[in-house]
């Protein structure tokens, strides 16, 4: 029995790999397991080869595993393009259809055991039967997933409208399950431990939901991979909440529409990816200067330029933190898992509204487009609340008043007697443009003070464990790092995890407390140039020996890569 199993389903366009994988996840979730489901596709707009990677476990899954336990291939078309994403080892099992030809050497060379299952032939024994359903039945049997869970899932998607297809699929699943007797040892998963409400959700959906929970009721956006699904979800959700969704003509319009809505008092968000964020940078500075609350979710993909739109990387940190011209203090927040996409985005709305500043949320493709089974959040979470200006009382309203906290009471259009002009030009306290040194210094100070003086509470970072090695990481690398730390402990190497959720502003004293007593620091990130490492070096005093482990995407960070470095560090005197 195992507490975690990773299954990859591979096939060319129309083979039904994604359908089967979604059903596997739904059935495993209904059985009580947790799941993480990622996908990789070729360049075709529709169809083409695709790999579905599903990790099922008795515990919440926030990382891919080091290798695939079961690779089920409906065919082997263009497998060489996917091999690097489907690492196999001697313990792996390849389930292959003889009709698909020889197992390619690039896969067979791993030493994985090859088990033959004539899926296409078996499917033909059922009228309307499909090979993907035979494969699904086989995989379910190999991991000990009760067949009635699959029947329920098939029923939910097919029974009402396609009774014939339902019967054929149930029969094909059963035939696949019965055929595994000839496949050798399976990978039975330990019985599930989950109780309580669980959700099946993608990171993009979770971020969208977090935005709505935080109070966002306006979204203007332009389609871009891999953020589009968040926009599509929000487009469906906002009207029912009395909110507004607009598909803008470009990213310049998206962010400026959001600024207009937010100026009007309605919390606003847009979502994009690196190229869109690049276009939005000027307006982010406008939100800084005009002190307009705003959230921009960047679902990062491989860059620079058009880069690798469908795959993940953590290389927009530099532009998100440092890309604005002028001295433009703003907020940058990064979710650490699919579940955290909800909290982090909700928190971002709360921070933006409270601090009257733009907040960039750095999600990425691996979070946004993967689907996970997570525990439903028990905490309602923070809601954005603006400090609204009191009703007019004679004296001229000072929109940009120099308060101790740096946060000035905000009026919105429609409030009588508090009219002002919000301005991207430097200004004095009333908002009237000013090029005077004293006004510039005072407003720069206030805009900086309101962010650095705020109490962000424990949400600023995940800090776990107490080893004298500290793994400092961020975003989607947090899950793999946590898993690597747990495995290192089994080898007697103790490490702590420090993953800032708040990337800007820097919180030097909080970081110093988190790193107190550490003798070695391992910085982990998915960026070719080590952007996070440089950011840490610039903003913080890191104790002891510091080592940077950085590499680009698009391959996901795997726990074993981090573990190897931890074990090596642990052996040093």
């Amino acid at each position: 029995m195992t507490s975690s199993v990773t299954i990859a389903l591979y096939g060319s366009g129309g083979a039904g790999v994604m359908t089967a994988a979604n059903m596997l996840v739904d059935a495993a979730a209904a059985a009580g397991w947790y799941a993480l489901f990622g996908r990789s596709s070729g360049a075709q707009i529709r169809g083409g080869e695709a790999a579905a990677m599903v990790r099922l476990a008795t515990h919440p899954v926030e990382s891919v595993d080091d290798a695939i336990d079961i690779l089920l291939a409906l065919d082997w078309q263009n497998m060489q393009r996917f091999a690097a994403e489907l690492p196999l080892g001697p313990h792996s099992v390849i389930v292959t259809d003889p009709a698909a030809g020889e197992v390619p050497e690039i896969m067979a060379g791993s030493g994985a055991r090859v088990a033959v299952l004539p899926m296409k032939e078996l499917a033909k024994t059922v009228p309307g039967g499909r090979a993907n359903m035979v494969g699904l039945g086989a995989v379910a049997a190999l991991i000990g997933l009760p067949p009635e869970r699959l029947t329920e899932v098939l029923g939910a998607s097919l029974k009402a409208k396609h009774a014939d297809a339902f019967d054929a699929s149930v029969a094909a699943v059963r035939i696949g399950a019965e055929a595994v007797g000839g496949l050798g040892r399976g990978r039975p998963l330990e019985p599930p431990a989950a109780s309580g409400a669980r959700w099946a959700i993608t990171g993009n959906q979770a971020a969208g939901l977090g935005a709505l929970r935080g109070g966002v009721r306006f979204c203007a956006a332009y389609p871009i991979t891999p953020a589009t699904e968040m926009l599509e979800w929000l487009a469906g959700a906002l009207p029912g909440l009395g909110g507004v969704f607009v598909q803008a003509e470009d990213e310049l319009a998206s962010i400026n529409m959001c600024i207009g809505a937010s100026f009007g008092g309605v919390p606003a968000l847009t979502a994009t990816s690196g190229p869109g964020l690049s276009l939005m940078i000027e307006a982010l500075g406008l939100a800084v200067a005009s002190e307009t609350p705003l959230v921009v979710v960047d679902v990062q993909r491989g860059g620079p330029s058009t880069g690798i739109p469908t795959k993940s990387e953590q290389a927009d940190l530099d532009i998100a933190v440092h890309g604005l011209h002028g001295d433009a203090p703003h907020l940058v927040v990064a979710p650490q898992s699919i579940a955290d996409c909800l909290f982090a985005t909700q928190w971002a709305v709360h921070l933006a509204e409270t601090l009257q500043a733009p907040c960039v949320v750095l999600s990425d493709q691996s979070l946004g487009q993967s689907r996970a089974v997570i525990d439903a959040p028990s905490d309602p979470g923070p809601v954005g609340r603006r400090a609204l200006a009191p009703a007019a009382r004679g004296a001229a309203y000072r929109r940009y008043a120099l308060t101790a906290a740096g946060i000035s009471p905000l009026a919105v259009p429609g409030m009588p007697g508090l009219q002002f002009t919000a301005d991207g030009l430097e200004h004095g306290e009333t908002g009237t443009p000013s090029a005077q040194a004293a006004d510039h210094a005072a407003q720069l100070d206030k805009r900086s003070r309101k962010l650095t003086g705020y109490d962000y509470g424990p949400a600023w970072a995940t800090v776990e464990g107490a080893g004298d090695i500290a793994v400092v990481t961020w975003g989607s690398c947090t899950g793999p790092a946590r898993e690597a730390i747990a495995r290192a402990a089994e080898h007697g190497v103790l490490a702590r995890l420090v993953a800032p959720r708040l990337l800007s502003p820097a919180l030097p004293s909080a970081m110093a407390a988190a790193l107190a007593g550490a003798r070695r620091v391992l910085v982990v990130e998915q960026s070719h140039s080590g952007q996070f490492h440089k950011h840490l070096r610039a903003e913080y005093d890191l104790p002891g020996e510091v080592e940077s482990f950085h590499r680009p995407g698009p391959l996901p960070m795997r726990p074993g890569e981090i573990l190897a470095r931890l074990l090596e560090m642990g052996e040093r005197p």
């Binding site: 739904d26 059935a27 979730a29 209904a30 329920e152 899932v153 409400a197 669980r198 959700w199 099946a200 959700i201 939901l209 709505l212 929970r213 306006f218 203007a220 959700a237 009207p239 029912g240 909440l241 009395g242 507004v244 969704f245 607009v246 803008a248 003509e249 470009d250 310049l252 319009a253 998206s254 400026n256 529409m257 600024i259 207009g260 809505a261 937010s262 100026f263 009007g264 008092g265 309605v266 606003a268 307006a283 500075g285 406008l286 005009s290 089974v373 439903a376 959040p377 259009p413 429609g414 409030m415 009219q419 002002f420 002009t421 919000a422 301005d423 991207g424 908002g431 009237t432 443009p433």
Partner: protein, 279 residues
């Protein structure tokens, strides 16, 4: 409703404009129009981008937003869609609206949100001290940036607006402030996206524009036929003043939907068999 004096719509901020600039008169026309429409200053938002004319919001006593270059229409659309009860006026110049903001101009016409867009067209970039704009004549040689003229045909914003779907298209002249106020009022009353291009001379960099007052003439009565409006606009010399086109398209508003709660949305993520559980 009490009608305010137009002065009540003016702030005490001193304009940066040069003496003789047409924009002073446009500001007066706008405040006259807002008073005439029986609006109150806090019910009106004036949104702009960058340029001489884009400084206008702070000279009003309305809510104002002075954003970045070229994006005023996007800010204005976002504001109007979020707060439909506000009267939203977008103000700016020819460079802001038709060059750097050209794409937003096209899509604002198409989208037909209920905005009034007042463009003070002086056929020059004044704030950066005299470079050719999209409406500058091809042979204007008085710019160090284009010493031999641009050699590029000027943009015809009114014809483009009609083609792109604007619901109200008019040309005004700052030298006739009462006429301009009447046109702006009509534009604000007309549903959907209304474009008012006000010929507003820059006497500093385009001294010759002082002559505009001798060249303007009333336009023929407005039509509701877009093809006819386009024919007139493609054929005229740019000095016909008045409303050219009034369409009948309903303004675009976001789709309304049956009320849901965030908790309803959350329940859709519950895994199979848990639909009865509340989160």
């Amino acid at each position: 409703m009490t009608r305010l004096d137009p002065k009540e719509f003016k702030s005490d901020v001193k304009p940066v404009w040069c003496p003789g600039c047409g924009d002073y008169a446009v500001l007066s026309s706008l405040t006259k129009s807002l008073a005439e429409l029986e609006l109150l200053p806090h019910e009106v938002a004036v949104v702009s981008g960058i340029g001489c004319s884009s400084r206008l919001p702070a000279y009003t006593n309305c809510y104002g937003f002075h954003g970045v270059h070229g994006r005023a229409l996007a800010v204005g659309a976002g504001l109007k869609l979020a707060r439909p009860e506000l009267a939203v006026v977008v103000a700016g110049g020819d460079g802001d609206g038709f060059s750097i903001g050209g794409n937003h101009f096209l899509h604002a016409c198409r989208r037909n949100v209920d905005l009034t867009y007042v463009v003070m067209d002086n056929r020059v970039y004044g704030m950066t001290k005299g470079q050719p704009s999209p409406t500058t004549e091809a042979d204007w040689e008085n710019s160090a940036m284009a010493p031999h003229g641009t050699g590029v045909q000027p943009f015809n914003p009114l014809a483009v607006a009609v083609a792109a779907g604007a619901n109200f298209v008019a040309r005004a002249f700052s030298g006739d402030p009462n006429g301009t106020a009447a046109i702006v009022s009509e534009a604000m009353r007309h549903p959907g996206f209304s474009l008012v291009v006000v010929m507003s001379p820059c006497v500093t960099y385009r001294e010759e524009e002082r002559e505009w007052k001798t060249l303007v003439r009333p336009a023929p009565p407005a039509t509701d036929d877009a093809a006819e409006a386009a024919r007139r606009l493609m054929g005229d010399d740019g000095f016909n003043i008045g409303v050219v086109f009034k369409g009948h398209r309903a303004p675009w508003m976001p789709r309304a939907a049956a009320a849901t709660a965030v908790a309803d949305l959350e329940r859709r993520f519950l895994i199979r068999g848990q639909a009865a559980l509340s989160s």
